[in-house]
């Protein structure tokens, strides 16, 4: 099956944006200023640091790796033009989407603190998920 060009181009761009965003949060985690709540800024720094690590690994770093994998797979697809590479990337987007649902839930209901960059990440992973589903759907329809 030929994957529509617009699909993988958007996929490439969005995964790159997701990577930028997650890398920025990771860098903030390691090099940024200490956490506080402020009248103007809310508690954004809180979500970008202390609550955001699993076994001492910041979730943002895991996110950055996740987007990097998707980005690399798309580049690999551009290179070797093997659809299965892109199908794999499409399947992986489910993981990112699930993780994002969890983090949005955490921010709204548990932490009551929001982080703009985390919401951007939720948006990019949702878009990637939609593109992934579209790809797999096209593949399914072509096979049946």
């Amino acid at each position: 099956m030929k994957i529509p060009k617009w699909l993988y181009i958007i996929f490439l761009i969005v995964s790159f944006i997701g990577f930028l965003d997650a890398t920025y949060i990771t860098a903030k985690h390691y090099f940024g200023s200490p956490i506080t709540c402020s009248i103007l800024g809310g508690c954004e720094q809180v979500t970008t640091s202390i609550y955001s690590a699993v076994f001492n690994i910041p979730v943002a770093l895991i996110g950055a790796v996740y987007y990097l994998i998707l980005f690399t797979l798309t580049v690999l697809y551009l290179d070797i033009k093997n659809e299965h590479v892109f199908y794999t990337a499409s399947k992986i987007t489910v993981l990112g989407f699930m993780a994002s649902l969890w983090f949005v839930y955490l921010q709204f209901f548990i932490l009551n603190a929001f982080c703009l960059y985390c919401l951007v990440s939720a948006a990019t992973s949702t878009i990637l998920f939609a593109l992934g589903i579209t790809t797999l759907n096209l593949k399914y329809r072509q096979n049946h």
Binding site: K5, I9, F16, F19, L20, T23, Y24, A27, K28, Y30, F31, G32, S33, P34, I35, T36, C37, S38, I39, L40, G41, G42, C43, Q45, V46, I50, Y51, L68, F71, T72, V75, L78, D79, I80, I110, L111, N112, A113
Partner: protein, 226 residues
């Protein structure tokens, strides 16, 4: 126009790798920039002197005082709660720790009433017990419409006289105390919580127990030399 399909395969990889490396580098630089205004004003920030009405912990004759301006509903303050607990245990003989209220009412609707609840507990000699209970259960009461009822329950758990507690929590005396803490912090240019003052001077928030320990040890050395 260059078509992606016709592009040299190696070229695609080179662009992708350069884009990744370049942006990681730039973002790391960006993230490590601390706002200038913060550093400039730090030197001129001096906290009001310690009063009898302050909530203190540790050694009253210590040469080092640490004042914290805090908001019970602030997740960052809650994150510092275990750090401070450890520091206060470790340096109980060397420092006097002061807790002052700085409820960020604009973003935390129950911060003020939590501050008053702790002061009402103080009237019965249990400020720190209530302080701990409020922080430990932050997620329970933070967004609750009837936070006051929850605090009354805590008062009962701490075996306080519930009727007196209820009266105190809304008393003018306690409102004034919370407000005077806030005003003092405001004059010392506190605009975020937690904010820490070491011997009256504002310090950059330490990021861990280790950093806190180092700052205190350095100050202890300075004080003993003098």
């Amino acid at each position: 126009m260059i078509k992606l399909e016709n592009m040299n395969n190696k070229f695609i990889w080179v662009i992708a790798i350069l884009a990744i490396i370049g942006t990681v580098f730039v973002l790391m630089k960006l993230a490590s920039i601390t706002p200038k205004s913060d550093n400039n004003t730090n030197n001129s920030k001096i906290a009001p002197a310690i009063l009898d009405s302050d909530n203190v912990k540790g050694n009253k004759n210590a040469k080092i005082t640490i004042i914290e301006y805090s908001d019970f509903q602030c997740p960052a303050c809650n994150a510092y709660f275990p750090i401070l607990k450890q520091i206060n245990d470790e340096f109980s003989k060397d420092i006097l720790f002061v807790y002052r209220h700085f409820p960020l009412k604009q973003i935390h609707k129950n911060a003020e009433s939590a501050a008053r609840a702790s002061e009402a507990a103080k009237e019965q000699g249990k400020f720190w017990e209530m302080h701990d209970m409020i922080f430990v259960n932050q997620s329970v009461w933070a967004e609750d419409k009837n936070a006051k009822d929850i605090f009354i329950k805590y008062a009962k758990n701490l075996e306080l006289d519930a009727n007196k507690f209820k009266a105190d929590i809304d008393s003018q005396k306690i409102k004034d105390k919370v407000n005077s803490d806030y005003q003092g912090g405001f004059q010392a240019s506190v605009n975020s919580t937690p904010s820490f003052f070491l011997n009256g001077n504002k310090i950059q928030n330490p990021r861990s127990v280790e950093e806190f320990r180092n700052i205190i040890n350095q100050e202890l050395e300075k004080v003993t030399i003098q």
